[in-house]
């Protein structure tokens, strides 16, 4: 490989001055729409009597059920009253009701939810009882009772709606709080000595503002429905005073001979409900955009598809040979190369290490061989030669028959690779019978054999155990046993010892080496640990930012690293460094190298 690969320390992305919250809401089309609409509704509700062109209660029996005209912009109703004026004046009651319900639900729901989630224990249980009682009550009947007792007082009814709504709000805020309560930054704040109130104010609330806004906007929409619903039933504002619900009621009476009457009131209610929902989403997204990655389109790096296929021929003596592997991720139409034009050969019976740091593309390169890339990441070009066949690595379907048969894989998290619902024995029997049809008893005997090969002592007991009952080291042994059952020619090992204790790691490495020798298997060993490379690998390929910097025998890599980056990485290992002295960092080394 070449020394020309640029090694740069990833620069901190420069984010130009962030717009303030309101501006960033208004920059979203749906946000702009909802803010505009709701502002209009609120302003109209406040200045209703000044704005309304007619007296909403003045009847004109000579001009009933008129369609929109210059004199009556939205037409007139069954008594010849101006619909626009009635809609304008009727908005006051609805908006006031929503505000009353919303403030009660917000105040009660947020404080109860946060307190329950943050403090837990008996506080949580007590609040839980309150929430459950409210949720168990028949809401509509309660509202009807309250309206009867308080002589159709709409304010009291809407406050009751707020109290009822606080239960669900509290429940959702509680679970959001539970999700962040154990984060390390809260632990750190507590150790620093912040009071509970300060932690809630500074760390919990900002973190759960998203669920809070969404929940409250949904609740606002619901309370419009309830408010208009009550008026529709004739229990709120009394005719002839206008209200949105009352207007829908009047429209429903005239639905057969004058359907237009339903349009202004119905549409207003629907749009207002929609606007609340959209506002919640826009606020949440705008809030999150301040502290998460936003998809700012970058200049597209074109040409990954065309002309990148390597001209280099396959090495026919190799067990597995990969040419021109390019892996990209696509986000919002922008392509970014994660692995670029990678070539490597795995000789028969060798252990090839792929070494690199996070983001180097080492794991993706090994996953691509089996077409196992995660969603959103794909191979755009790349050919593989394996057992005298050529495979197109971008064609995942063609690679499927190889998986677990000729090419097997073991993973970093051995426990995650086992299904917690099934015993170890079940896992293995399953795999065996999938590969070769045979009876359960025969498969069981083979499973026992496989576990014995990975040096598990008490095989019979282990067969009956569930994954959570065994240690991480044992789980990795089971993973290896399972991978080796179909006698694969190639084993891909993705950081198989990284999650293990060092003493267990030594045993697993020993086991892998023995199995590899016995079966004359070829192994690709992905790792970030140079000690592990020195221990188990015959050759190593060093990767950096999706490119292979150098490939050589382990003796050469350690004694005569040809690339500055490899030299720098090896020097940064505290192994060789004098105790307490400065460790040379990559930056130091590269500065020296460029002199």
């Amino acid at each position: 490989m070449t020394d020309a690969v640029q090694i740069d320390t990833p620069a901190v992305p420069r984010v130009a001055g962030r717009p303030n919250l309101l501006l960033s809401i208004l920059l979203r089309p749906l946000g702009l729409f909802s803010v505009l609409w709701l502002s209009i509704v609120v302003i109209v509700a406040v200045f209703a009597h000044q704005i309304a062109p007619y007296d909403p209660m003045q009847q004109n029996l000579l001009a009933i059920k008129q369609y929109p005209s210059a004199a009556h912009l939205l037409g007139t109703d069954a008594f010849g009253r101006d619909i626009l004026s009635r809609l304008i004046v009727g908005s006051s009651g609805t908006i006031l009701g929503v505000l009353q319900a919303l403030s009660v639900a917000a105040l009660l729901g947020i404080s109860l939810g946060v307190v329950a989630g943050y403090f837990g224990r008996w506080v949580d249980r007590a609040i839980g009882v309150y929430v459950e009682i409210i949720m168990a009550l028949p809401n509509i009947i309660i509202l009807l009772v309250i309206l009867t007792i308080f002589q159709r007082n709409m304010s009291i009814a809407m406050i009751a709606v707020g109290i009822i709504g606080s239960a669900n709000t509290a429940r959702i805020i509680r679970s959001a709080t539970l999700g962040v309560r154990n984060e390390l930054y809260i632990e750190a704040a507590r150790i620093t000595g912040l009071s509970d109130l300060a932690i809630i104010r500074r760390h919990i609330i900002p973190r759960i503002l998203g669920p809070i806004t969404v929940q409250l906007s949904i609740f606002a929409a619901i309370s419009i429905l309830i408010q208009t619903g009550i008026s529709f039933l004739g229990l709120g504002v009394q005719p002839p005073f206008p209200s949105w619900g009352g207007m829908i009621l009047e429209a429903s009476v005239a639905i057969n001979d004058f359907p237009w009457l339903l349009v202004p009131s119905g549409l207003t209610v629907a749009i207002t409900i929609l606007a609340f929902g959209l506002l919640g989403d826009s606020v949440r997204d705008s809030l999150a955009a301040r502290w998460t990655h936003t998809s700012t389109p970058q200049k597209q790096r074109a040409g990954f598809r065309a002309g990148t296929t390597s001209q280099q021929a396959f090495d026919d003596s190799a067990a597995l040979s990969v040419r021109g592997l390019t892996i990209v991720t696509r986000k919002d139409g922008v392509e970014k190369a994660l692995v670029e034009d990678l070539n490597f050969d795995l000789a028969a019976g060798e252990i090839l290490g792929i070494a690199g740091e996070s983001g180097s593309g080492k794991t993706l390169s090994s996953l691509a061989v089996l077409g196992l890339l995660p969603a959103g990441v794909e191979v755009v070009s790349g050919q593989m030669r394996f057992s005298s066949k050529t495979y197109d690595l971008s064609n995942t379907r063609a690679l499927r028959p190889l998986r677990g048969q000729q090419i097997a894989m073991i993973f970093q998290e051995p426990m995650a690779a086992l299904d917690p619902c099934f015993t170890i024995g079940h896992h293995l029997v399953e795999v065996i019978r999938r590969h070769t049809p045979m009876s359960r008893a025969e498969a069981r005997a083979k499973a026992i054999e496989a576990l014995a090969e990975v040096q598990i002592a008490d095989v019979e007991t282990v067969m009956k155990k569930y994954p959570h009952q065994i240690s991480g080291g044992m789980a990795q042994r089971v993973g290896i046993a399972r991978a080796l059952i179909p006698a694969p020619q190639v084993l891909l090992a993705d950081e198989p010892t990284t999650a293990l204790d060092v003493t267990v790691q030594a045993e697993i490495l020993d086991l892998l080496r023995e199995s590899q020798k016995k079966r004359k298997m070829s192994v690709v060993f992905v790792t970030h640990d140079w000690g592990v490379v020195a221990d188990i690998c015959d050759r190593a390929m060093v990767m950096y930012h999706g490119k292979a910097l150098e490939t050589a025998s382990v003796e050469d890599i350690f004694a005569r690293p040809s690339h500055a980056y490899t030299r720098a990485l090896l020097a940064a290992d505290p192994h060789a460094a004098p105790i307490g002295e400065r460790l040379p960092t990559i930056q130091d080394m590269l500065k020296e190298g460029s002199r």
């Binding site: 390390l184 000595g193 940064a572 290992d573 960092t585």
Partner: protein, 277 residues
């Protein structure tokens, strides 16, 4: 770096901790003199993190004592604990969850200063700027959010938060385990520099004997809740006394194929001997 041998900054004696019927720590005792680093090595389940938690007041001890600067803080009251936050700080393993994603770095770094009684905004801003400079972060870091930084950079911010109010002891719980080798070197250098400048003491908890040896004045090896070996880092590496330490050392691979081959051979013999007994 001369240690004050008269009274150690932190002194732990006869510590026993139970989780239900399971004894997590057995009769743990050690001292951390002012301005020094004590390394704590052990594998998973050895109880190394629990020791840090007892010192930070997050786990209650069944018996034994934690003496900080002459004061028994084993069962310190909640209000005393809050006061201790100024003197005893922490750096966690996971640089991602240890910074609040919704707060700017400046807001995060201002908290320890506020708790230490610094009220003037200009003072806070000046001190944050100073610290960011010390940990090698760009000057405009304070106005940015954690998502804009890599794991290594976040860990440097976490270190800055721990030392910004000039604490006397910092518990570092696997502070470099989640970092790449190249970044690990930067953070280890930073810790060493900070100790020299601020004469802060560290309790450095790690599973990696090589890392611990590099930063520690004294090292303790922990096995199943017990201290099996204690000494200075080089001594433990060169002349381990306890069988477990020897196994641990033999199991850790070295980045040198020839030496590693010999080492592996020794490990195999050792393991065979253990299996035979």
């Amino acid at each position: 770096m001369s240690a004050n041998t008269e009274t150690p900054l932190l002194s732990v004696r006869g510590l026993n901790v139970y989780f239900g019927p399971f004894q997590a720590l057995k009769n743990i005792g050690f001292d951390i003199p002012t301005g020094t680093t004590l390394g704590l090595v052990g594998e998973s389940g050895s109880g190394k993190t629990t020791i840090g938690k007892v010192i930070l007041g997050q786990v209650k001890a069944e018996s034994g004592s934690v003496i900080y600067d002459g004061e028994d803080i084993t069962n310190a009251s909640r209000s005393r604990r809050r006061g201790l936050g100024r003197d005893i700080q922490v750096v966690f393993q996971d640089p991602y969850s240890s910074l609040n994603p919704t707060r700017t770095i400046g807001q995060t770094l201002s908290e320890p200063l506020m708790m230490a009684g610094v009220t003037s905004r200009t003072d806070i801003r000046r001190r944050i700027k100073e610290l960011l400079d010390i940990v090698g972060m760009p000057a405009d870091t304070a106005d940015r959010y954690p998502f804009e930084f890599s794991g290594g950079q976040r860990q440097r911010v976490a270190v800055a938060r721990a030392v910004i109010a000039k604490p006397r002891l910092v518990v570092c719980d696997e502070p470099v385990s989640a970092l790449d080798l190249s970044v690990q070197a930067q953070v280890l250098n930073l810790l060493n520099d900070l100790q020299r400048e601020l004469s802060v003491s560290f309790l450095f908890i790690s599973h990696d004997l090589t890392v611990v040896r590099h930063v520690s004045h004294r090292t303790i090896v922990l096995y199943k809740g017990e201290i099996v070996e204690e000494g200075d880092g080089a001594q433990i590496q060169d002349a381990p006394q306890h069988a477990y330490t020897r196994t641990l050392l033999a199991a850790a691979p070295v980045p040198d194929p020839a030496r590693q081959r010999e080492k592996r051979q020794r490990w195999r013999e050792m393991r065979q001997a253990q299996l035979n007994t």
